[in-house]
């Protein structure tokens, strides 16, 4: 059973969004996603200041098995990227909810995401 952190929201494409409470959000991928992909080896992150529309391809994460796109969950501006992933892409596997965060962003609104229990249910029915 994969872990679903209760303190954040989720997208249909297995990203999580955490409201940091200071008008910024953090984006990452869920335990289910990292498990499916397997050992991560490369991460392509956007740059600070980049803007993206909802559903735009924001990052590319590549495991030995496959490359996968990470999509913008909202219209956003990138505030910070997780530089550690450059040298330690395996953080996405070992700590997808904590040290394996992808980007921090600002957005006018972040809606239409699933809460943790809805996401959990969607996984059970997969």
């Amino acid at each position: 059973m994969s872990e679903v952190r209760q303190d954040r929201q989720y997208t249909q494409t297995h990203e999580w969004v955490l409201d940091n409470g200071d008008n910024t959000y953090t984006l990452g991928i869920s335990d289910h996603a990292q498990e499916l992909l397997g050992d991560m080896v490369f991460v392509e992150l956007p740059s600070q200041g980049d803007e993206a529309q909802m559903q735009d391809e924001l990052c590319v994460i590549e495991s030995v098995k496959a490359a996968s796109d990470v999509y913008a969950p909202a219209n956003l501006e990138v505030l910070e990227v997780n530089e550690s992933l450059e040298d330690e892409p395996e953080l996405l596997n070992s700590s997808c909810y904590d040290d394996g965060w992808l980007i921090k962003f600002s957005a006018d609104s972040v809606d239409d995401l699933m809460d943790a229990s809805t996401y959990e249910q969607s996984l059970d029915s997969e």
Partner: protein, 358 residues
């Protein structure tokens, strides 16, 4: 799906099971990169029981095999000595690649791939009709490959009696201890043994190896290891439409005995006379990204294709085997996710005995 006699052992070790050629096999037990490194640095083991050992016996055994395969079993004269060969069709294409062990003039053992077992046996049986031989698939055997710098010493610790018999065993040779057949062969570029043993002994042998500190490794690691070692995978580097000469496997074709008319010989000789047009080379990507099978390759003298692409944990870079025009050298481009990316052309192997060679 079929299951080997080690299925329960895989589940107990946390194996993530997948369908491989109709067999339910472990892809990994958590991290394929960890398992890969375990083999390069210590000792890991693979359940390869889905492969098939076939015993060829009878007065015409040698004659039969001299016809059946492109390498020459005539070179094998000592009990247990083995060779690697392709088995060809009349057009010179590869039906399968395999290892043959000489036991005596009337007894050889061949080991064929899991995904081609049925096809191979049909072919071998029909070719055997003209010869005084029996073709006997060893369905009661399990196979475990123990690989890594400490594989041999840990096997000795795990299984009593093996060291006494195998201490002087050279690479590509085998020995028997009762019902245990120990071959110093492998598909990883590391030292080690491939063990063939009765199915009922498989579980407890696996357990003894675990207790001796050998870690279970899955098919994911098996693929990254063999690619680093520059070894071909049937269905990727060669298939029924590709001859060994076009798959950089000329070294497995022995034409020296002109009286040995093996199946596919004429086709190969014609191909040589016409001039070979393509070959297999190694590729290394300096930048980010993982090379994937079937991506297009562009060289200065023509186009080709990735036959096997992956990430090399030992090198920290993407590597691949690719089919390209003969004479391609230095650099080429690979079409990766809509971009053309430069890669270096190298001669495999990439890694041997944990040392990067390219």
């Amino acid at each position: 799906m079929q299951r080997t006699s080690l299925y329960e052992s895989h589940i107990q070790s946390g194996g993530k099971m997948v369908n491989f050629g109709g067999w339910e096999m472990p892809l990994n037990y958590g991290s394929q990169i960890h398992e890969h490194n375990q083999v390069r640095n210590d000792a890991g083991m693979f359940d390869v029981s889905h492969m098939c050992a076939v015993d060829i016996k009878g007065d015409d055994s040698k004659l039969f095999l001299e016809t059946l395969i492109a390498n020459d079993v005539g070179k094998l004269k000592v009990y247990g000595k083995a060779l690697y060969s392709c088995m060809l069709n009349e057009a010179g294409g590869v039906i399968d690649d395999l290892i043959v062990y000489f036991l005596n003039d009337e007894y050889y053992r061949i080991v064929i791939n899991a995904s081609t077992t049925e096809k191979d046996l049909d072919w071998i049986n029909s070719q055997a009709e003209k010869f005084d031989v029996t073709v006997d698939p060893q369905d009661e055997l399990a196979m475990i490959a123990v690989q890594g710098p400490n594989a041999i010493s840990k096997t000795y610790t795990a299984i009593p009696g093996v060291e006494e018999v195998c201490a002087g065993l050279k690479p590509f040779s085998a020995a028997s201890i009762g019902t245990l057949f120990v071959a110093r062969t492998g598909y990883t570029g590391e030292n080690g043994f491939e063990l063939m043993l009765p199915k009922k002994a498989a579980e407890f042998t696996w357990k003894m190896l675990l207790d001796a500190g050998v870690e279970p490794c899955g098919l994911g690691a098996r693929d990254t290891l063999r690619l680093e070692a520059g070894m071909s995978l049937y269905g990727s580097e060669m298939n029924e439409d590709i001859s060994p000469l076009e798959a950089a496997l000329s070294w497995t074709v022995d034409l020296s005995n002109h009286n040995r008319n093996f199946i596919g010989r004429e086709a190969l000789e014609n191909l040589k006379a016409e001039g070979l047009r393509k070959t297999i080379v190694g590729l290394v990507l300096e930048g980010k990204g993982v090379i994937r099978d079937h991506q297009l390759v562009r060289t200065s003298i023509g186009d080709g294709e990735i036959t096997s692409g992956t990430f090399s944990p030992t090198m920290g870079k993407a590597i691949a085997l690719a089919s390209v025009p003969v004479g391609s050298k230095e650099m080429c481009e690979i079409q990766m996710r809509n971009k053309w990316v430069f890669a270096k052309i190298v001669r495999p192997p990439f890694v041997r005995n944990n040392e990067v060679l390219v």
